[in-house]
């Protein structure tokens, strides 16, 4: 592993080590580019992870102060925890479930396909399926996605079998154990899945792809990558010409350092990335960096979500085995006859007993709630995830008075469901319940959204600078050597779990940055 000097102004600095930053940093290193990844959290390796929901939550979650506003239910149920994401090397790829789905062709053209949707700030992406296909192929190979590259699907576990039985009875056709970045057989020096059942807590067998176990080590062996954990970036610095020159960060003791940089790539997730750009405001850029459009922090998306749990009269033991290896894709199409635009996926999900108590019906108590907990071993669960509408008013802003441990304004996360989101959720709840009832459910329950895991869109990509933050390469319109490399680039959210697309965009961006550097443009 390399070590670079603070004054080395030839390095690319990547802020964040998750799906976007971890992949980008490793790929740049593989291409010979000297790269420093600054990660706010600590480094916990595979053996450090815990098969314990609350224990793990305390170990890897991003728990720094955040506030919420808006009419979304998360603001009521989890006022201080708008997002369930990770502060650790590997970012939220340590926590993710592994679902790796490509966008559908029409989803790259949401504005054209859906037309004018009142209150929605829809745009078409400046890239399309033809452009992204090869990058998806590369990402799927890197991540070892099942049902691609000749990799067999994962075996169906108990909760999948329940989902599948109901789906078949309803006539759904696209039903399988998912396209998962979890090894169904040994691959890439990592073992096959042991059906441990704690995918969200950091995979203890190494079967699940994460930047921690798969990308960062590859980058480090090149000698071109340094990953600096416990390095919370506070501010991006720039010179008189407006180009960025380095980043100011705090180490684990709160001591501040300035790491110089040739290029800065921001990949701190869709809450921290815009927050960093806004907190980097200067006399030259009074509204924050890369914010001439005023769109930094705006158009926050978090996917339409919800869960359905069902109780059967016999055991399911849903906690046994891979959390999300089961999907129904029939509802992911765009079919406005259902009363909404866009589509949604239905994916298996399970929570352990401790998290079930916290998330099944937040705030719930009494006989009905106890009945559900009493039937825990007879429960099956699914997660509903679909495209939500971008709205300018849904935004990450800097809190007027609350400050973090470094004295910087904390982010406020504002979200109001769009009418389309509400209609889609109703439809999805209904179909989810129908699936489980078709398989013989005694009772079904509609669980409201968890804190956001898919945080998107707050530095969105657009061909024109006037209403987007970055161009089609994730390069900010305003500052040539400043990039955005995470899900905050998303122009629209599509129905699919976003990680595969974030990784594909990061691989493509690495190619662009390395190319521009060798041409002398960066």
């Amino acid at each position: 592993m390399a070590t670079f000097d603070m004054n080395d102004d030839n390095v690319v600095v990547v802020v964040g080590s998750g799906a976007g930053g971890g992949t980008l940093g490793a790929e740049l290193a593989i291409k010979g580019v000297k790269t420093v990844i600054l990660e706010a959290g600590g480094r916990h390796e595979t053996e450090d992870f815990q098969n314990d929901e609350w224990g793990s939550f305390g170990q890897i979650s991003w728990l720094d102060k955040r506030t919420t506003s808006g009419s979304w239910r998360v603001a009521k149920d989890f006022a201080g925890l708008p997002a369930w994401i990770v502060k650790a090397v590997g970012g939220s790829t340590t926590h993710w479930a592994g679902a790796s789905l490509r966008f559908q062709e029409h989803e790259w053209k949401a504005k054209t396909t859906y037309g004018d949707v009142a209150g929605a700030s829809l745009l078409d992406w400046p890239i399309d399926m033809a452009e992204m296909d090869p990058w998806y192929a590369k990402a799927e190979d890197r991540m070892g996605v099942t049902r691609t590259n000749g990799i067999p699907g994962l075996p169906g576990n108990n909760k999948y079998k329940v989902l599948e039985a109901g789906a078949r009875k309803l006539g759904y056709k696209e039903v399988h154990t998912g396209r998962m970045a979890i090894n169904s057989e040994p691959r890439d020096d990592r073992a096959a899945c042991l059906q441990i059942g704690f995918c969200f807590q950091g995979c203890k067998s190494g079967a699940k792809w994460s930047t921690l176990v798969a990308e960062i080590p590859k980058g480090e062996t090149t000698g071109n990558l340094e990953v600096r954990p416990n390095a919370q970036v506070l501010k991006i610095e720039h010179d008189d010409s407006g180009k960025v020159t380095g980043v100011l960060y705090a180490d684990k003791d709160g001591k501040q350092h300035l790491q110089k940089a040739r290029v800065v790539c921001v990949a701190g997730n869709s809450i921290e990335s815009p927050r960093l750009l806004l907190n980097s405001a200067s006399s030259k850029y009074p509204d924050g960096l890369a914010n001439s459009s005023g769109m930094v922090g705006k158009n926050y998306m978090r996917h339409m979500t919800g869960s359905v749990y069902a109780v059967y009269d016999k055991p399911v033991n849903m906690y046994r085995g891979t959390t999300m290896a089961g999907i129904i894709q029939d509802e992911s199409r765009h079919d406005p006859s259902r009363g909404f635009v866009g589509g949604y996926e239905m994916e298996t999900l399970s929570l352990g007993l401790p998290f079930m108590a916290a998330f099944l019906d937040p705030g719930g108590w009494g006989k009905d709630f106890s009945w559900w907990m009493d039937n825990y071993e007879n429960m099956a669960g699914m997660w509903l995830v679909g495209e939500d509408m971008p709205q300018e008013k849904n935004a990450i802003t800097l809190h007027a008075t609350e400050k973090d441990q470094h004295g910087l304004p904390v982010p406020n996360v504002h979200f109001d469901d769009h009418d389309n989101d509400i209609k889609m959720r109703e439809h999805a709840f209904g179909q989810g319940e129908a699936v489980y009832k078709a398989a013989g459910a005694v009772k079904t329950f509609r669980t409201p959204p968890y804190p956001s895991t898919h945080n998107l869109g707050t530095n969105r990509m657009n061909a024109e600078a006037k209403d987007g933050v970055v161009n089609k390469h994730g390069q900010t319109h305003d500052i040539g050597n400043l990039f955005v490399s995470d899900g905050s680039q998303f122009t629209t959210g599509a129905a699919e779990n976003p990680t595969l697309t974030i990784v594909a965009l990061a691989l493509r961006q690495a190619d662009f940055i390395a190319g521009e550097m060798s041409k002398g443009n960066l």
Partner: protein, 173 residues
């Protein structure tokens, strides 16, 4: 309820039928269950407050499969947290006083379970109720001793996961 009540066996059975679990309190902060089914020691709260919180906890998340001692263990967590937290101690003490007042006597002696539930329902938006309920989410359901009673097996990596231990053993579909 200022001293340990000596209930007859018949009275104890009647109390159990109503879901009442507190027999009484003794010296030194000791709190007793019926038929000595459980006992706990209030370290920081007074014993009556502690005893009422145990009854209230069972009423909030009532599970026939759980012995009363698990509710007492959850309340012990609150009791410990109250040691260096005067505001919490006051919240709990005042909350229990309010609950007893609403009950027209000792909440933990109210033999009509529906009446107890109605009292709790009327205060479910209060900070006191939410504190007691929130404490149970982890204090009760994250107690590893109760997991097997709900059929939850906990950690599995140390046992090789479920690949050879029933991840796909469903046989009734």
């Amino acid at each position: 309820m200022n001293s340990q009540t000596n209930l007859s066996r018949r009275a104890a059975l009647k109390a159990a039928g109503a879901g009442l679990i507190v027999a009484g309190v003794g010296a030194g902060g000791l709190v007793f269950g019926h038929n000595n089914a459980w006992a706990a020691k209030a370290e920081n709260l007074d014993a009556d407050t502690f005893a009422t919180l145990v009854q209230m906890s069972r009423d909030i998340y009532s599970h026939d499969r759980l012995e009363d001692k698990y509710y007492a263990a959850a309340v012990s967590g609150l009791d410990k947290a109250a040691k260096d937290d005067a505001a919490l101690k006051a919240l709990l003490s005042d909350g229990v006083a309010g609950l007893n007042k609403a009950a027209g006597g000792a909440y933990s002696g109210l033999s009509d379970a529906d009446q107890r539930m109605a009292l709790l329902k009327a205060m479910e938006g209060d900070g006191f109720f939410q504190k007691v309920r929130g404490n149970l989410v982890t204090g009760l359901y994250n107690n590893k001793e109760v997991w097997p009673l709900f059929g939850y097996e906990g950690a599995s990596a140390d046992k090789g996961g479920y690949i050879d231990r029933g991840f796909n053993d469903i046989n009734w579909l």
